[in-house]
């Protein structure tokens, strides 16, 4: 009975999605959805990662004076990439990659979290995408979990001898899926109220599946091709970015 209910709610949610625009289901949590206490909690949880990222930036930019310009431009690159609409045939709409997996393998996960915080602030202010009070939750999902999942997948697969394409594919895929899973969890924790936590979590996860499963694969493929392209054409750039650690 519960499974039936979840399936029906999934179809109803999907119907609601399809009559609205695609951007509604991009991965950022909109302004006003999270209660104040949850908004503060996620902001507090994101702060240590941002503080570490800022410390990382200060220390590395003493040794590599061009790093700030690098990070700013990688941030802009991520922002541009995350603005590229990609068709998702199963949903009949478009969505966009999150880009933090790629950023994390280029500049490291902590700096990627900093870059994500800037991109999310810009998107909240000028694209009505995300929000100011939900910035903490969105930074945690996309900047922290997405970056670390992508970076971890990349390091692990490279360590196991995978090709640059395969490793970057895994990074893009896992960063995207980890971000969507965290966003679903954040929404469920805040919204389930006196209803069932698990059935709402399953419903939200299922509602994301038609867009995020193909999108994650697409993001993985695009990350793989993009990283493979840079690796083949300009390997010295990657060496300059992370001092030869990622190559």
């Amino acid at each position: 009975m519960k499974r039936h209910r979840a399936v029906i709610l999934f179809f109803m949610t999907m119907s609601a999605m399809l009559i609205t625009v695609d951007s509604a289901w991009a991965m950022h949590i909109s302004e006003g959805i999270l209660p104040f206490s949850w908004a503060v909690l996620w902001a507090v949880m994101s702060l240590p990662f941002l503080a570490w990222g800022m410390r990382d930036l200060r220390e590395r930019s003493r040794r590599e004076p061009h790093l700030k310009a690098f990070v700013g431009l990688v941030g802009a690159g991520v922002f541009v990439i995350s603005c590229m609409p990609i068709p998702v045939p199963t949903a009949g709409t478009c969505s966009h990659p999150c880009g933090t997996g790629m950023a994390a393998i280029l500049i490291g996960p902590f700096l990627s979290a900093v870059v994500a915080s800037v991109a999310l602030t810009l998107q909240a202010l000028f694209l009505a995408h995300g929000g100011l009070t939900t910035l903490g939750a969105n930074i945690f999902a996309m900047g922290v979990v997405g970056s670390f999942a992508g970076y971890g997948a990349f390091r692990l697969t490279r360590g196991l001898g995978a090709s640059p394409f395969a490793a970057a594919f895994c990074a893009g895929l896992l960063a995207d899926w980890a971000t969507y899973a965290t966003t679903s969890l954040t929404l469920t924790l805040a919204l389930h109220g006196d209803g069932s936590f698990w059935s709402m979590l399953v419903s939200i996860l299922l509602a994301f599946v038609p867009t995020q499963v193909p999108l994650g694969i697409l993001e993985g493929v695009i990350s793989g091709i993009a990283y493979g392209f840079v690796h083949a054409r300009r390997p010295e750039i990657l060496g300059a970015l992370v001092k030869g650690e990622v190559s």
Binding site: M1, H4, R5, V7, I8, F11, M12, T13, M17, I19, T20, V21, S23, A24, W25, S30, E31, G32, I33, F36, A39, L57, H66, K68, A69, F70, G72, L73, V74, A76, V80, I81, C83, M84, I86, M102, L106, V115, V118, T121, L122, L125, F126, L127, A128, H129, G131, T133, G193, S196, M200, A207, I222, I225, A226, G228, F229, V230, R234, L241
Partner: protein
């Protein structure tokens, strides 16, 4: 994308763009907090209507307002559906789908409508803030709130180069399109990947050149922002009028007997 993202409207001269950014941020955040704590949909929806009206009165094109509102509206619809069918309570109507009865509850629909109104109310406040304040002013004002200067520096760099890279990405995509780079799914994937790779490569080349240019102009690893000026008297007056007015409206709506 340029129209949607650009803060060109925030650079025009009007009564709201002239107000100190710190004051606007305080008022906007207070309005968002009031919306988040409101237990009735009247205040959030009222603020939403007011913000849309102000944006249109300031000359923001209707198309941009609708495009920016489309996302929050979609979220509002989904919230009403999810809450309506997930919250326990007294059933209002029942649907039979795939042989299973599911009921929307009065409490769920009420909660969903309240959440949806909060989303619309607070998003419209942020939209109005973005429509009357250029990004660089917001970032500078954030220093007043204790945000580290190196974060502000990165934010300004990201903001500056976003437009450059959007331009570059559009050029590369156009070149790929005329070479039939998007004629099949396989070619589209390759093209998008190469586009992303090209954007990254160009970003880094541009970073090298930018750094050299900045060093030639005296850059030594950090932008010297200098102290923030004090808030002007007329802007303080704005704050003194707006905050009590907001609180009074909030209190009136919250505690008015239904």
């Amino acid at each position: 994308m340029f129209d949607l993202f650009s803060d060109i409207f925030a650079r025009s001269d009007n009564a709201l763009t002239r107000v100190d950014t710190r004051v606007k941020l305080i008022i906007a955040l207070s309005a968002i907090v009031a919306v988040m704590f409101s237990s009735r949909g009247v205040l959030p929806l009222g603020i939403c209507v007011l913000c849309i009206w102000v944006m249109l009165a300031l000359g923001l094109p209707l198309r941009i307002v609708i495009l920016r509102l489309a996302g929050p509206l979609g979220i509002a619809v989904v919230l009403v559906v999810l809450q309506g069918f997930f919250t326990k309570g007294s059933p209002v109507f029942q649907l039979t789908v795939l042989g299973t009865d599911i009921a929307a509850t009065r409490e769920g629909l009420w909660k969903g409508t309240l959440l949806a109104s909060r989303v619309l109310g607070s998003m419209s406040v942020v939209m109005l803030l973005g429509a009357v304040t250029p990004a660089y002013k917001v970032f500078h004002a954030l220093r007043w709130w204790g945000v580290p200067e190196s974060w502000v520096e990165i934010a300004l760099l990201v903001y500056r180069y976003t437009f450059v890279l959007l331009d570059q990405a559009a050029d590369v995509a156009e070149a790929q399109r005329v070479r039939l780079g998007y004629s099949s799914l396989r070619r589209s994937l390759d093209s998008v990947g190469i586009l992303a790779g090209t954007v990254i490569t160009r970003s880094l080349e541009q970073a090298m050149r930018t750094h050299e240019a900045m060093v030639l102009r005296g850059y030594d690893g950090g932008i010297c922002f200098g102290p923030l000026p004090g808030i002007a008297v007329q802007d303080r007056r704005c704050l003194v009028v707006a905050l009590p007015a907001l609180f009074a409206v909030y209190a009136l709506i919250e505690w008015w007997p239904m």
